[in-house]
Symmetry: C2
Subunit: 336 residues, 2 copies
């Protein structure tokens, strides 16, 4: 699956020159699970890191049918055409965990951006666990920033844990909604709202305008009631029409207003520092779990023990202690 | 700190006989961090496990000032006096992590329950991390169930992560609120609501009744809008007066209605099985982190690396890989 590899220098030169073909191959490299590829990817990322971090990182989620792709197409085009930005669109797609499918597989859903020379669209990594997919996306974001993209939009679906992971890698989190909550909202995970820096009610067009405005008013009230300001920024609610592009400029103005505040207060620096440390510890946890599950002593016992715990026949404390003892026996002091 | 120890048999006999003094000492035993105590506690829990699991486990949270203690006093008294239940009140108090203080230290806040022979009040474990405190509380819950308590109320404050941990060890999660959101809600962590099986608006007494009713209506609308039913149970909203005891019976009726549904659908069995497995894996993660941080090679490097990551001078990926390599080098194949 991995593309033919280039040299470290070639990857670095190509990416920093903004060569889209090389960028694509560099992303394929960081997505590869081959140990030799991982090693090369690690070196490449270390080299490019100093050039990364300058983009506006925006996470975007919303239930299927809310119009995420249409909004990203409209927003991205506004950014490239009106504001001269260079926009990378990435995705974290939990379904890629199962099916290998991707919410961004079908680029025709972003007709204008797909052919926009100032835009770069990359589907979700198709392999690995959700955590692994998220990590690849974080690394891909660094590559895109090193390649000179000034805005990175990370799309995810508003179900499961993916939106939390995306919120943990972005500066601003946008939740896309549509009027007429009830049925359309069934799919939404509780607590999605808690991540929102901005809620945008889409499809404020045609005879949908007043419905969208009413919904926005309801969301403002609900957010004020349930989510009082934890910090300086109180999540905003706007209406947009991704279809007609109306409200998209105002939406971006909110992103920039948030950014100004966060830069002035130091909140952005702090948020990114926290995200970086959190990322490091997540990787440590993942690595420890991998080593643990790969341990033969653990592997031999875990299934039976977990079943007994689930059936209430064994205390979680006893099961955990048994497993940890096996792991540390194998590892500590080697093959004793 | 640890009380003089009894024999394993004496602990088992005393707890299963419902001897409050022995139960108290058994709880002190599971709270002890002395390895020998931990071992004895482990054996005791393994013996008592078959007698545990029969209580209705209810988590209760709410911001300071919402009237948690008064509600628990009223609810607990209703349960013991009217319904003949035996009620244990436990707590998970994050502040115990720092100050050693406890939200349940002052039993006078539950004047009636404190002297109720059918009730047992135990403050939050005062030592250890929040995760450790939560684990001790889970073990204490098993002891109380083995001692014949038919209802276990686990109190926690509605800030930080403690409410999530309590929701993960209970069958039903109650969030206590008061009317006049604004200021009083400032302290609430976003997303607290997502855990609620029931929201109770307290202080529906005197001239507060209409305010509480209005608040209840607002919360119903907000919950419907933001948290559509993920499963069969849609979080309910009731008004109560902990002071006068009004609404407390209706509140408990909701708990039982939820329980009936969950028993019939198998959701309760599934919830507890998931909690038990989750608990096992949490313990494994904790144990792995402990071993990791205790590793001399890791300890020597982690501070510097984490600082560099936070300052953006080092990639989280590189830092994590360095630390993991040090850990597995020490452990795998021993002192190579």
């Amino acid at each position: 699956m991995a593309a033919p590899r280039l040299s470290l220098d070639a990857y670095e030169r190509g990416v920093t020159a903004g060569d889209r073909a090389v960028l694509g191959r560099a992303i394929t490299l960081v997505e590869s699970t081959r140990p030799s590829d991982r090693e090369l990817a690690r070196d490449l990322l270390a080299r490019l890191a100093p050039r990364a971090g300058n983009a506006v990182r925006v996470g975007i989620t919303g239930i299927p049918g809310a119009g995420k792709s249409t909004l990203i197409d409209a927003l991205g085009t506004h950014l490239t055409a009106e504001l001269g930005e260079r926009v990378a669109v990435l995705a974290v797609d939990p379904s890629s965990e199962r099916s290998g499918g991707s919410i961004l597989g079908d680029k025709t859903r972003m007709a204008r951006l797909a052919v926009d020379p100032r835009a770069f669209i990359r589907p979700s990594p198709a392999a690995g666990t959700l955590g692994g997919v998220a990590q690849r996306t974080r690394e891909t974001m660094l590559l895109c920033e090193a390649a000179g993209f000034s805005v990175v939009l990370v799309e995810t679906v508003g179900v499961g844990q993916s939106e939390t992971l995306v919120a943990k890698m972005t500066d601003f989190f946008l939740v896309l909604m549509i009027a007429g909550a009830g049925d359309q909202l069934q799919g939404i995970k509780r607590g999605l709202m808690e991540l929102a820096d901005l809620v945008a009610i889409n499809k404020a067009d045609g005879d949908g305008v007043s419905r969208a405005r009413r919904a926005a008013t309801e969301y403002r009230a609900a957010l004020r009631l349930l989510f009082p300001p934890a910090h300086a920024w109180q999540p905003q609610v706007v209406t947009v029409s991704a279809l007609e592009g109306t409200g998209v400029a105002d939406l971006w103005a909110e992103v920039l207003r948030h950014r100004e505040q966060a830069l002035a207060s130091g909140a952005l620096v702090a948020r990114r520092a926290t995200q970086a440390r959190r990322w490091m510890w997540d990787l440590v946890d993942d690595g420890l779990r991998e080593a643990f599950r790969a341990d033969p002593g653990v592997a031999a016992a875990v299934g039976e023990l977990e079943a007994a715990v689930g059936a209430g026949q064994l205390l979680p404390t006893s099961a955990a202690e048994t497993l940890l003892a096996r792991f540390l026996a194998t590892t500590q002091g080697g093959d004793a």
